[in-house]
Structures are given as C-alpha cells and as structure tokens.
Amino acid sequence: MDPLRSYLGRLLLEDITPVVMVLTTPLAEAACRRSGLSFVDMLSPFSLFKKIDVPVRTASDQPYRLQMFKIRMVYASDIHKQDHEVADERIKLVVSEANEKTLPDLLADPPQLEDVVNKPEAELCPLWTKRFNRELIRTLSFSDHETFDHPVACLLVVSSKDKEPISKFADLFNTNQLPSLLNEGIMDPQILKHYLVLHDQQDGPQEIAVNILAEMRSTLGLNDCKLLCINSSAQAHGSDADNSWLPYKAHGLHNHEGACFLNTDDLNEIKDFMQDFASNHIIPYMEQKIRVLNQQVATTRKGFRNQIKNLWWRKRDDVPEAANGPMYTFTSIESQIRVLGDYAFMLRDYELALSNYRLLSTDYKLDKAWKRFAGVQEMSGLCYFMLDQSRKDAEYCMENAFSTYLRIGSSGQRNATRCGLWWAEMLTTRGQHREASSVYFRISNEEPSLHSAVLLEQAACCYLLSSPRMLRKYGFHLILAGNSYYLSDQKQHAVRAYRNALFVYKQNPWSYINNHVHYNVGRWYGVLGIFDVAIKHLLEVVACSHQSLTTQSMFLNDFFHFVQSTGKKFDVYKLQLPVFNMSSLRVVHEDHRTYASNADVDVSESIWQELEEEMIPSSSVVRTNWLDTQPKSSPFKNNKASVCVAGEAVKLNVEVKNPLQISVNVSGISLICQLSTTMDASSAEKGTLSAATEEDIATTKPSILTFKSDENNFTVSSLDIVLGGGETKRIQLEVTPKVIGILKLVGIRWTLSDSVVGYQYFEVSTQKKTKKGKRGAHRSLNNILIVIKALPKLTGYIDCLPTKAFTGDLQLLTLNLRNQSEHAVKNVKMKISHPRFVIPGGSSDLDLEFPQCLRKHVQSDSNVVSSKSTKEKFKGFLFAFPQDIKIQGGATFSWPIWFHAATPGNLSLYLSLYYEMESTTDIPYRTLRTHYNVEVLPSLDVSFAVSMCSSRLQEYIVRMDIMNRTLSESFALHQLSCVGTKWAVSTLPSCDSISLVETIPANQSVSCFFKIKDIGTNSCAEAADGSCGSDMVLSPGGSTDVFHISQSPIADFHYQERYHQGKLAKGPSSLLDFILIAKAVAANSSKSEQLLSHHTCQVALSQNPIWWLMEGPRTITHDFSKSCCEANIQLVIHNSSEHNISLGVVTSDGTLEKNQTIPSHESASGPGGWYDVSLENDVKAITSMKGTHPQKQSSESISPFVWCSLSSAQVDLKPNSSAKIPLKVCIFAPGTYNFSNYELHWKVHPSEAGQVDDNGRSGVGQGYPFYVTVLQGAR
C-alpha cells in the first residue's frame, strides 16, 4: 500500500509541515475579533492545500511536483515547549469527553466473539484513540533537538489603524518577545519575513491601507508586503455566513459568536493570499535554503577527505557528557544538516532527507548526543517508511530510536512514546499487528496510567487483528487497560474494556478470571449507577462455590449493597443462591390416599398397596365412578393429571443447597401457583403447555405477580430458613387450594436476605407425565392437579406409641382419630402390617386401667379369641370396626390398641385406615396411612428344657433359663403360665425356694426348675385345689394378681407368637407353650409399672410316646445265709400315644459293655431299625440322668445282681393303655443297688388314621434309677 495513503503517511503529511510564526498587533487582532475569530483561526482553514501543484527542485536537478501541501500557522507566543501538566490535562479531556459517547452502548449487551470479528478494523478500537495519539504526539512539538517544528517563515501583521505601521513591524519583530528558540540561537533568526497590512473595511475606506502598503513596499521590499481586507460585509449576518463558510468548516474553523462580517470575497481574498504565500514565498524559500545547505554540507562533509577530517576532528576528548550532547547552535554544521534533512522531509524529498539523517546520526553517535541521535534515527525510519523500501531498516531505525530515547531517561521518555506510536502505526500499516501490539505494550509501560490504558487498548485491538487471532491476549490486554482506566478513574472506559473482554473467558472454565471480570464489571456498573446491569453481572459470581470464603463474602456483600441501593426488590429468574435441586422435587397430594405424617409419604407406595389390597375396592372401579361424576372428564381420561382435594394442602418437597461457605438466610420460600377455576379441558391443556415450556413464562415477567395475587383461590405457605455454609436442607412447601378447579404448580419463589427475590419454574417434561401407575404419578413431577370438592378427612395417630421398648413389653395404647371436616365417615376398617406387635382391642378395653384389667379377678366379658386362626390373619390383620361406628364431622374417636414388643430388632409398623364417606362425593372412600418405627431392645431370654420325671408318671421337670440381656434394667419375674388347660405347673415339692428368685438384675442369668403335670389325661386330685394350676405366681403376693392369659390380648398375642415361632400346633400332647410375665423394676416408682410377657411356644417334651416306671419294695430284709435274695419288681408302662406300640424290655447284667451288645442279639427277634437311635433327642429329653449314668456304670465293674426272670419281654400296648411287666432280680449280697441297667425298645405301629413323624416312630429308653436296699436279715 502506498505509504502516503496510509494513516501514518497522512499523519506525517499533516503534522510534519512548515511552521509559520505569526506576529500581530493588538489592533489587527481586534479587527479579526470583530468577526469572532483570531487571526490564526481565520487563516488556518486556508493553510491546507489539497492540490497546490507547484514544481519543486531540491538538491537534485530534476524538479518534481508537489501536490498536497500544508503550512502550520502558529502564534509566536505559542512556539515553546509545552509543560506536561497542561498537555496531560488536554489529553485527559479527550479521553473523558469520549465517555459520554461510550455511555449508551454500555447499556447494550456485551459483545460476542462474532460481532467483534465482524467489525471493520477501524472500529475495533474506538476512533477517539487516534485523536488521543495525535494529542500525545503534539505535546512534543517545538522541541529543540529536532527542527521540523521550527518556524520556516514569519508573518507580521499590522492593522491599517496602527500609527506609523512601519515602525510597528520593526518592534513586532524585536527579539525580547520572540520565542526562545530564536533567542537561544538554536534556530536561525534569519528567517523569511512576510509583512501584511490587515484592513478592516468598516473602519473606513481602503485608501489608507493602500497608502500604507505602498509605503511598506518602498521600505521593506517589494514583494514581501501584502494587503488583506476583511469584514467587508456591511452588517453582521449569521444566516448566509454559514453557507459561505460551509466549505471551510471542515478544516476546524469555528466562529464562536454568530456575528461575522466576512463575506465571500473576503474569504476568496484570504485564500488567494495564502496560496500566494505558500507557493511564491515559503516553498521557494525552502528550496533555496535546501540548496544552500546542501552546498555547504557537500563542501564540508562530502568526500573522503572531509570524512576523515570530520572523524579526526570529532576525536577530541573534551566531549561534554550531557544527556543531549554538546550544545549545537544553528551555525553548527550538525544543526544545519538537520535543518536540511527536515526541509527535505517536508518537501518530500525523502532520499535527500534520509542521506542527511544518516550522515547526522554518525556524528551524533560520536558526540554521544543521544537524544538528537534518537531523533535522527526516528526521522530516518520515517523516511524509510515513506519511501516504502527496506522495512528492516525502518524497523531497525525505529527500534534504535526507541531504545535510545528510553536509555536517556525521563527527558526522552515522551519522545519514546511518540516514536513508539509512529512505529506501531508503521507496523500496523504493514499488517504486522503482533509486533505493533507488543510496541504498544512497551510504550504503555512508560506512560502514566491513563495513557497506558489507551495504549493497552490499542494493543489489544492489534492482537485481535493479528492472524492467527489471539483472543486470549486480546482479553488480557483489555483487562489491563480496563484496570488502568479504573486507576485513573475513567469508569466508563474501564467497564467498556472489561465487558469487551467478557466473551473471551466465557467458553472455557477459567472461572477465576471470569469471576474477576464479572465482579468488577458489575461493581463498576454499580458505581456508575446502572444497577440492573450491575446486578446482572454480579449474579454470575454470587454463587461461586470454588472461591475462598473472603472472596465469596465480598461478592455477596457488594451484590446486596447494589441490590439495596436500587431500593426496590429484584425478581431474578433462576437465582443460583440457594440452589434448588429440581431432581429432588416431589409433589405430595392426597386424593383418596391420605397420610398421617410426612414420613409416611416417603414409604414406597407398593408397601401400602399390598397392605391395603383386600381392604379397598379395586382402583379401576374407583376411578370410573368418581371420574364420571366430573362434569368434563376429558383431561383426566388418560390419568394425565392427578387429584387433590380442596381445602387440603398439597405439599411439595425439595432440597435446597447453599453453594457458598457463608450462611445465607432465605425467607419467604413459597410456591408459585395458578388455579384456573374453569374446568374445561382446553384451558388445562393450555396450562400444561405453557408450563411445559418454561421460557415463555420467564419472558412474561408480570405473570408472577398475577400468580401471587389471587389469594382467594388458594393460599401458599411461606417458609424462612437459614442455610449454613455448604448446607443442604430438605424443605416442604404447601399450597392449599380453596375452590374447585385446575391447580398448576408453576414454580418456586424465595427472597434472599430480604433483598433479592429469586424465582424458578419447574421444568415439566410432558412425556414424563405418561402414566406410570400411582407410584409414577407420585415420583414424576406432574404439576397439574385437579382440585375436587372438599372431602371429609381423618387424621389419626396412636397415642404414645413407644419408639423404644423392651422385648415382651405389653402396653395398652389408644388410637385417636379426628375428623376435621363436617361430613361423617362410616365403615371404618383398619389394616395392620404386624399383628404380632399391635392388635386392636375391644371397644370395652378403653376405660380399663392397665394392667389391672388383665388380672383374673377382673371379670370383664373376656372375648376369648378362637384358637383356630387362619394363616392370612397373621400376615396382615384386617380389623373392621363395628358397623355402627360413625365418626361425625369434627368429632374425635379413640380405640384401644394393644402393643406387644414381640421380638428384638427394629420394626417399622404400617397401619392403614379405610373409611367411606357418608355423603356421596367424588371419591367414595379414603385411606389414612401411618407408619411407626419401633426399636425393640432385648430384655429377657427365656428358654425351657423339659425332661421326664423319673419318679412319677406324666410329670415333667422343667428347667427355665432366664438371661437378662439389658444393660441397666432389672426385671422381676411375676408369673409363669403354660397355655392350655391340659398342663399344670407347680414348684418342685422339695424346694419352694424358687419363689425367692424374684428379680433378675442386668446381665444376670438364672435357671430354675418347675414341675409340670399333665392333668389332661387323668385329672388327679391336686388339680382340684388351686395349688397347681396352669398359672404359677413367682412373685410374692399370692394368686390375687395372676394375669389371665387365656384372654385377649395375651391370648391373641400368644397365637401370633405361636405362628411366628414357626411351628404350627400339631398335637397338643407333645408340645407345650409357656408364658412368662415379668415386671420391670422401675428405678423411679413414678412411671407406671411395665409389664413384659415372654412367650415361648412349642417347647418339645421328650418324644417318647410311652412312660414307664418301676414299682416294688425299696428295702428288702433277707438272710443271705440260706439263699440268695430274690426281689420282685414290676415295670409299669403306659402308652400315651394314639398308636399301637410293640415294646420290649431288655435287661442287661453287668457292665455297659455287655449292655451295648444287647441290641445285636436282639435284632433277630425284633424288627430292624432299632439302631438308628438318634442320641440327640435322648439328650434333649433326659439330660438329667445322662450326666449321672456313665460314671455309675464305670464305678461298679461287675454288677452283684442278675436279672433272673427274663432277659427280654415283648408286649403290645393299645393306645392310652397301661401294662405291667413283672421282673425278678436276684441279689447275692446285701447292699444298695440301682436297677437301672435295662432298656426299653419300642416301635410304633401307626394306625391308618394318623401318621407320626419319624423321630417318634421307634426308640430306646434307658432305665430310670431305682434303688433297692437289701439288708442282712437276722436269723
């Protein structure tokens, strides 16, 4: 591209131009003032010549034509170095007046990548930066180390009214008021002078002026004098002045007050004057001067000899080490060369200029005049650029100049900036944007913050222009720029810079930077008073969880500060503080299923359904019969919407999380709802659609207000919580519709610390609402609810149901039901999941006091529960309240409930109440669901072992082992009962001390023995008196407070236990159940005594179907002198089973070894299968003697007696019959003998009727010890 066309080219053509120093008399100025202009202002528009088209001939011989030309008219008083303060003020003005322009687009959205890219290059960084650059450069004009600002000519202006004008010219140009440049001899005072007489037409006729002119011509020379007439128009006219000025307005000509007496021919006159001045005086003068200087330079410096001489001459050692080298007067050859170069530059003879600059640079370098050297380097770089050749040299020169300026320190610093600006422009012209930006960056370091901000911004733009596009650096430099804008409080610019950088950090998760940018942009917007945008930006950072605590609090505080300073409350859509976990959202609405508490809602629906299945009518039936009552059932056909009841709260559970580490208080959390009372399907559908697409609601902002407004249709609960740092809470919101219609839950609104109102809409995916059964309807968020007319509703709970109980704890509780509505409900049923733990009592039990009601003497009409209990009764207990019970509206109703902690462990107990409406309503019935969690602690472990009594028929020894597993509690045994009338329990006759065992302290275990007697078969005498009954009181205090076990609830619980302890009642003969009732020994007697009933069921007796015992004399007196003694004893055997039994008695003499051989030889006679004697059930049955038996055998090796009569006898026993088998023993010596070494082998022959389990089929019984004492009789 042609460098002259480039921006830098035009810049140079306009800025590096000959300067004309203007000297005016006050009167002349006054004349100009009349038309509201200073003299320079009046002329300056005409000092730019677009097409002056004059031939120019510099040092070389062939002329060239100069097209564009410009001369700078400057008052002599302005020709001096500017002090930086003034300059910086001017620059500050430029920047700050750009503020107003930037303000409007600050309100627009921040730019995105594409619209930044699509911008044309020029607009990337704002246009006023160019002006800024020029101003920055201007601050350096009229420096003494470079001459292109030195005046080329001098224009002396005298008014025609001045007294003796000629002399005026003289003292205008006297040195004491000339600029310092001339006085200090830095520049040649012999410059071209041009004399002008300014004539104001309104001051009188032109003749005076003409005379003066003639006089001047004669004295001052012929063609250096001119006459200029102005203000020739008669009266001040603003109107057509404008159009006449129009072409010149462009050149920065402003006449301030409208009064302007210049008319068109005045303007033309000025124009001609300037044209003539430029082309006929200035340019020729410069040409001529160039030639002269060139001649001198050629003579002194060109040629080999001169070079050497120059070098030698410069080698003097007394080179003063000043920053700008030795003082160069205008006579010095160096300054002449410089002038030559600059003139050549101004006349665009760049080769000539360049050659001179080169020449000069060596000299200055040798003189160590660094500042001058840098200036020369700079110019030569520009020359290279204008010549558009050898970029490398150009850059080298600029680089050189730049670094040199920097090296000489503060005096050259601003020059460095100028050089950098030119350099950067040069680079951008050549498309080397990256280098340009780096140059901008370098000079930005040298400048005060305001300037560096602008420079950094330009650097950023260059990064954007460079290829490949360097967005990150663009962003970074914008941030830096914005930062230093902020430092030099230019907030608008700061914001502009930051927000331009926003998009850079958007895509990548560089959250650190992103937060910083957003935060500052927001803050500064706030400072500027644009609060809504400020808040919009601050919202981005408010919920930053990764920042440090202090940062978070800082963000939050500023946010609140600005929000409060706006004065009004903000509605923020999707405010991220706190975070509502929408996935955890759950709507709880009660149609025909009602819940006692929130915990019950979370129980999975399937549990309820299987609990309620035979209690409620099938759901399909329900749906039809209540849907048909609806006037318009079309929307509900496909179960899209679910149902809630007017007047009953619809609850909504959601999790709230506080992402910050600071605790925030959230107030007024409430639902946004919409209740359309029109029942037609279309509106409902519309509602769903609008809800489904939550954007359009978001767009229709005022809709929130309407949501809040209609309080008469429904009421919403409002909740205040404080969320600690990082805390997550689960909250429940409620809305209570009041009228029939379609209720739509639209969203949540909340207030963050009383200042910000956040609201969020539920995303409702429409396909989510496809029916997934009741459970699905619950889980998936369906926010459309059909409100049906109010229904009666029961609320209920079990009074003081313990959460902790000891095993076996038995309590009487009451179930309280309350009907809040005004209609009555009827046909109440109850289903209990664990009847083992809870069973409903009878209506009469209510007023009984516990536990006295259980005592025997209380003669309540004991509804003895039938023993035949069906299986399904156990797995779910359906209890129908009496039909006549109706719970009236507003009435409360209580019903007794028995609680028994059956087994240790955690239990969750489900209750469901079913009731029907008295009046016909949309829903014929409802269910009240409630569930409790009970933790049952282990208390007493009771185990029983029963063994046959060896001495009596049909009597058993019971060993009861009780272990107290509690840590602290101690229990008092109260009563032991065995269920059923068949058995009688009593203490062992010998030891009554058993009753001393009253209390069992913690972690202790006792075992005690009882005797139980079968009083079913033969009702023995002592069954009559109360000494032995089915109950036995263990605690002192007599049989007065014996608990009635064959009466509800204990009996009921006992059946449950029986079922649950596994085995079902087979024959009552061989199994029996014990109930141990204990009392907790209360540490403080205040609390009512606690009753524990432990049920141990199906304790196995010895499996033998037969009993036997020996009968015979216990002491025999015999005289062994004559013969051995024979003792007749008999074995009484009773068959208690209902089968025939064949049985053999096997007596064995001597030791056990022989004893064991018996079966082998018996095997011939008896049927086989006798060997599979499972020792286990023997052990269980007769533990007592098993212990004693072996060592007795071992003690006596050979027995001193023999069984005489038979070695084995076979008998057959009918069911429930007895037989006596005589036996005879002959004894050889006196002593005490134990005739226990016999065995009974029996085999059961099952009758067709019943069958026996295998272990009872056949067996072996060891003989019981039977001691006989034989005495030596006297002769």
Partner: protein, 143 residues
C-alpha cells in the same frame, strides 16, 4: 524460582494450576497462563517460525512478560504444561528436565483409575510430587 505451574487440557480448559508464591497474585498468574495458550496455539498451528523444533514436546520460552518467563510443553495428547518462572536466565536443559519430571508425574496422576479424563486433577499426591519437582528446579538434583 518457579511461581506457577499449570496443566491445560486439549480444549484449553485448566486441569491443574498451582502457584507457589505467598502473595495472592493467583489472578495475574491465571491471566499469564491463559495468555500463553495463545502463543502455544500460534507455535503449533503455524510452526514455520521454529522449524528445527518442529514437533518437539518442549516448546521453549513462550511469553516473556515484564517480570515473568513462561515456558511451555505440549504432550502428544495435546495436553499443555506451562511453567511460569521469575528467574531471568533459565537454562533450556533445566526447563526440559523439569518438564520431563512433571510429565511423568502427570502421567501417573491420570493413570489413577479414579481420575476422570478432562476433569481437574485433584490428587493430593500429585500436588506433593509437583511441589518437590518445583523445589528441585534449577538445582541439578533429580526427583
């Protein structure tokens, strides 16, 4: 001394950024690292300017700011390591050595089965190892 090391994923998302300075110039370091990514992109996309080290993992000095030097390293898997140092003359050998060790540490970190590729590296052991590597930087000791 090294003031900051960073691991940047192949989508220029920061995976790990640790600064070793007392002053909280984290933001500035973030900026410096973020800017250096531009240089890396430039180096990789038009590698004409450094032909000999055409596709070497070590990228050398990226970004001499006024008081920082940023060195870069680009793995085969387009993961970028950056090291910001304040010392003026860093021997290339040192930098290479540093990055080799750092790369080894990184590989072990991402080989952790619980590390999700493309997510930030949270492993504490990695951090400890990196800090030791950083401490040993310059002094020829090997970690």
């Amino acid at each position: 001394m090294i003031v900051c090391v960073a691991v940047v994923g192949h989508q220029n998302n920061p995976l790990y950024l640790q600064s070793f300075t007392e002053a909280d110039d984290a933001l500035k370091l973030h900026h410096v690292v973020h800017c250096s990514l531009d240089v890396i992109d430039e180096r990789v996309n038009n590698p004409k300017r450094n032909a000999p080290t055409l596709n070497e993992t070590f990228l050398g000095l990226l970004y001499p700011t006024e008081n920082y030097k940023v060195y870069g390293y680009l793995t085969n898997t387009k993961v970028k390591f950056l090291m910001v140092t304040t010392d003026l003359d860093v021997k290339d050998a040192d930098a290479r050595n540093f990055f080799r060790k750092f790369h080894a540490a990184y590989v072990d970190a991402v080989s952790n089965p619980f590390h999700v590729p493309g997510k930030k590296i949270a492993s504490r052991s990695f951090g400890a190892r990196v800090s030791t590597i950083v401490k040993s930087f310059g002094s020829g000791t090997t970690v």
